[in-house]
């Protein structure tokens, strides 16, 4: 079946104690491991694999890599062939290279972002168990996010120099990894330049997104919440903890999600994302947003594009 879902992101942080205060205290994740390099592994309560977030101590913020989980071990070999046939070099790394994971395939997206595919990660189990479970666990702190939902990567876009890494990633994800396109933004005088894409393998509107910017970077990773009420409560918890909020609760036109954008203490953007948007299916017609309505696509209520959306990232 190929790629199932986002597996984890590895973020760089400037201050590990502050980062743990944020991801554990404010978002409600749990620490589930650490290694000799000082990396800390975390999971959310509704996830069953051992981690979905790796925090790495560093002198700069941003993302080291992003990883997606495939269904079968044999998918790794099949997808390796597809990626190599596409023209991108793949390195197979042995089990344990990604901590607590089996062997993995490592390569770079056309945009340059480091990307892994893996089939096996150590099992940890949901916090509510699987036998007659409660709908949610009582012992969580903060916003109690359910799971890592998706990530948005900034890709170099400079049409005047003929550079469009958004378009290159879209083509690669479709042809080599069988991702489907849910929504896209088309810009330029003739409306024919792809400037952003939301793509999926699961049944939600996006498992990964690409947006054009000045240079490659990490825009955000999003954590799932059930409802609009949970989004409001999460925003209250952020305010209580003086978390820097970029965009207060509102709705995205694109994906229909209920959102808050905010930053971790090192300046990496997070999102809490609620609502499943709609059922995304391989035969669903692609939704297109024009440059004129781009503001409403991103922030549906105000309809105004805020400069920080594309200029502030790590």
């Amino acid at each position: 079946m190929g790629v199932m879902r986002i597996g984890h992101v590895n973020l760089r942080v400037l201050d590990m104690d502050a980062a743990l205060g944020h991801y554990i205290g404010v978002l409600g994740m749990s620490k589930t491991g650490e290694d000799e390099a000082g990396n800390i592994y975390l999971k959310a309560w509704d996830e069953w694999d051992r981690y979905s977030l790796i925090l790495s101590p560093s002198d700069r913020a941003g993302m080291n890599h992003i990883a997606y989980k495939v269904e079968h071990d044999s998918d790794l070999d099949a997808l390796r062939q597809r990626v190599e046939d596409y023209g991108i070099a793949v390195e197979e790394v042995p089990a344990g290279t990604l901590q607590y994971c089996g062997r993995a395939m490592k390569f770079n997206l056309p945009s340059g972002h480091e990307f892994y595919l893996y089939a096996q990660k150590e099992f940890a189990g949901k916090a509510v168990g699987v036998t007659n479970p409660d709908p949610w666990p009582q012992n969580r702190t903060g916003a109690a996010v359910h799971w890592l939902d998706h990530a948005l990567l900034i890709c170099e876009l400079n049409p005047e120099k003929g550079i469009n890494k958004v378009a290159e990633n879209m083509d690669f994800m479709k042809k080599a990894l069988d991702f489907y396109l849910a929504e896209q933004v088309m810009v330029g005088p003739d409306g024919d330049i792809p400037a952003a894409a939301w793509m999926f393998r699961s049944s939600t509107p996006h498992d990964i997104a690409f947006v054009g910017g000045e240079k490659m970077g990490f825009h955000h990773c999003a954590f799932f919440l059930d409802s609009w009420d949970d989004v409001l409560k999460a925003a209250d918890i952020m305010a209580m903890n003086k978390v820097r909020i970029d965009v207060t609760p509102q709705r995205h036109g694109i994906t229909r999600g209920y959102t808050i954008y905010f930053f971790d203490p090192s300046g990496n953007r997070n999102e809490t994302f609620a609502g499943l948007g709609y059922l995304a299916q391989p035969d669903m017609p692609v939704i297109t947003w024009t440059e004129q309505e781009l503001g409403r696509g991103i922030f549906y209520h105000t309809g105004e594009l805020v400069p920080s959306f594309t200029d502030v990232y790590t």
């Binding site: 400037l14 913020a61 330029g188 054009g212 910017g213 200029d311």
Partner: protein
């Protein structure tokens, strides 16, 4: 400088005066609040506001006069050259005296032309 301030605020923190040379804005900055937070709290806009964690670099300013104390800032944006040039991130810097600052970020992002939607 518009005025010299050394008064204490309600918490007993010293309050300094910050002047932004680009816009002429002048605002009060308690010693225990970052320059960026103090600016925003009073409704000023002169320094671009981003992640507030020292990671994104948009609030880069040059300290033209005065002293600041800064928390760790991303080496992606503040390297040896910037340190020599007295360039800091306003979101990670606390006033230690009255300050004169100029905006040093490569993107004065609020004024940037965008020909292709996002860029």
């Amino acid at each position: 400088m518009a005025r010299e301030t050394r008064q204490a605020d309600n918490d007993g923190a010293q309050v300094f005066t910050v002047e932004l040379l680009d816009t002429g804005e002048v605002f009060a900055c308690p010693e225990d609040q970052t320059v960026l937070k103090a600016m925003l709290a009073l409704g000023h806009k002169g320094i671009p506001s981003g992640c507030h964690g020292g990671g994104c670099g948009v609030c880069m300013v040059k300290v033209e006069r005065g002293e600041v104390r800064s928390l760790p800032m991303s080496a992606e944006h503040i390297g040896p050259q910037q340190r020599r040039d007295n360039i800091v991130l306003a979101c990670r810097s606390f006033a230690q005296s009255d300050l004169q600052l100029s905006v040093a970020g490569k993107m004065k992002m609020n004024m940037k032309p965008r020909r292709y939607g996002f860029v």
